[in-house]
Point group: C2
Chain length 325, copies 2
């Protein structure tokens, strides 16, 4: 069974309105937004990743899903498998604690389990947030909406590439890969105005196509408008290849929002220093996703992101898993 | 790090009142009871277990925690790892669906992840229930309370022992091991009256000791009063050794409740056919846990249950893990 088949099957079961059709990486139950995410060693994090950053990331992944719904963090339930290495497990919990404290997420429950010796660890967290006055779904975009990107894309994928080349690599891109920052305040500011919103977890292009599809729209994206960080440009440049790398890399924790064309998001109370850029337009007809650069059409890359894994977040491309002892 | 150390560490972080000190296998947030539980292949279920029963059990484990708080099932969030075997994964989801339907639990969210090839699967579910007028904790028992057991113990452990001896074993005990029934209606009937309540997940004796400890009481249990099913007695007899096996085996999904001595639980509206028996008394002083049989003291067995794993549920004793392909 492919994961997309499993998700289709689960969607047929998940008929309760709170499930939102399992299309939003989050459920909406009685004013609470609930989002579960799991990360597996060797798939979503590398055995050599510092454990504190793995713990941080586990929390941040979930907070990014809350940000995409404009929710305010409330509480988290943790599902922890231990490595058997005390210092490592303690550092993992340090990272979880740091992220929870940073974003006001109270740890209210959890269980710990043992795995058979040598098994890759699986870490799970369910974050619970309080919904704001309105909760934008993926499916609410309308033809004519402008598509905005909050944050930059490509940094995390570039950081991972540096780590693949040199496990001791450091710097801003590695930091972003390891300690992503969920855009909670920006999400809360945009949510009351956004027709649709989601976080970019599996690749900007893939997630834009998902938003368009869920909304029965088409998305036209101008690759030249996709904001890149200075660190990204320094590492990989900003030519078309670099932009496509950034727009398909995933693991970004940026937000995409479909806003009515008359709204200037700079008029909203976004946190100081927020990067927000208009990257495209939603339309009613045509290809589900189309790209331009330099005013000309650009062919879609073969891989828009980690599509074959369905709606779930898969942060790291497959790689040989190092000895995990 | 031992799991008990990890849990102590997490308890220091989990200071929010909703966490209930991480002592109740459940959190209580705004009228909702939330309980996460994970099961790992080779630890909590056997690779050869029928996948539909694994799915059922994943749901039942969590519903038993809701039953222990007297909550009514509302919704569930699923975290699924797939085996890659389509028929097996479909059967697993069948079992999840059957249990959700049987107990009115709406699947409202979830994610699916891939694991590295050959890795044991880890399945997680967070169940959400609506709290009743009062939610009994582990910590509310008082000296003089009577200790009651709803359901029988030992059936599941006896079923597992049969399967260990013969993987093709069938019968009532195997069925109970594979398809436990959470005692939701009984939990709801008892909750308004119980000073303390919890489910028996890791062994009756261990869990009685936990309840006593959390309540600053001592527990005195009469092993002769522990109810055994006819199927259990047929398989293992009802002598002292059989009773100790039953009282330490775990994986029971029975409920223990500390009730005021003047309350006769048979006066409550328990579901027809509910097995409920007074198994002991809570007192203020003495050994945390003491046992009698035939009116005489019985020495505590070395293992009260799966203590070393802390508060989490560990259903299967360690065993060689069969080839999981």
């Amino acid at each position: 069974m492919r994961e997309s088949d499993a998700i289709e099957r689960l969607r047929r079961i998940a008929t309760h309105p709170a499930a939102l059709g399992l299309r939003d990486d989050a459920a909406l139950l009685e004013g609470l937004v609930l989002t579960p995410d799991s990360m597996a060693e060797g798939v979503h994090f590398l055995p050599a990743d510092p454990p504190a950053s793995v713990g941080w990331k586990l929390v941040a992944v979930n907070l990014s899903d809350l940000a995409a719904k404009g929710a305010t963090p409330v509480a988290a339930l943790l599902s922890l498998t231990l490595s058997g290495d005390e210092a490592r497990d303690m550092a993992l919990i340090d990272g979880i604690e740091a992220a929870c404290e940073s974003y006001g997420l109270a740890l209210i429950g959890g269980d710990t389990i043992a795995l058979p010796a040598g098994a890759p660890r699986v870490l799970g967290l369910t974050a619970i947030g309080r919904a704001g006055t309105s909760t934008p779904l993926r499916s609410g975009a309308r033809p004519g909406d402008h598509l905005w990107l909050v944050g930059t894309v490509g940094d995390s994928a570039a950081g991972l590439a540096l780590l693949r080349a040199d496990a001791a690599a450091t710097g801003a891109l590695v930091d972003i890969y390891r300690r992503p920052v969920p855009l909670l305040a920006a999400g809360q500011a945009l949510a009351p105005h956004a027709h649709a919103m989601m976080d970019v977890s599996d690749g900007l292009l893939l997630d834009c196509r998902r938003l368009a599809q869920a909304s029965n729209c088409t998305a036209r994206i101008d690759l030249d408008s996709v904001p890149l960080s200075a660190a990204f440009i320094q590492s990989r440049g900003d030519d078309l290849a670099a932009r496509i790398f950034a727009a398909t890399g995933g693991d970004d924790y940026a937000l995409i929002a479909a806003l009515p064309p008359e709204l200037d998001p700079l008029s909203l109370s976004l946190p100081p220093g927020t990067s927000i850029a208009r990257i495209g337009t939603l339309a009613g007809q045509g290809d589900l996703l189309s790209l331009t650069s330099g005013g000309r059409p650009v062919e879609l890359p073969e891989q828009l992101g980690f599509e074959h894994l369905g709606h779930q977040h898969r942060r790291n491309p497959p790689a040989p898993v190092a000895d995990r002892g």
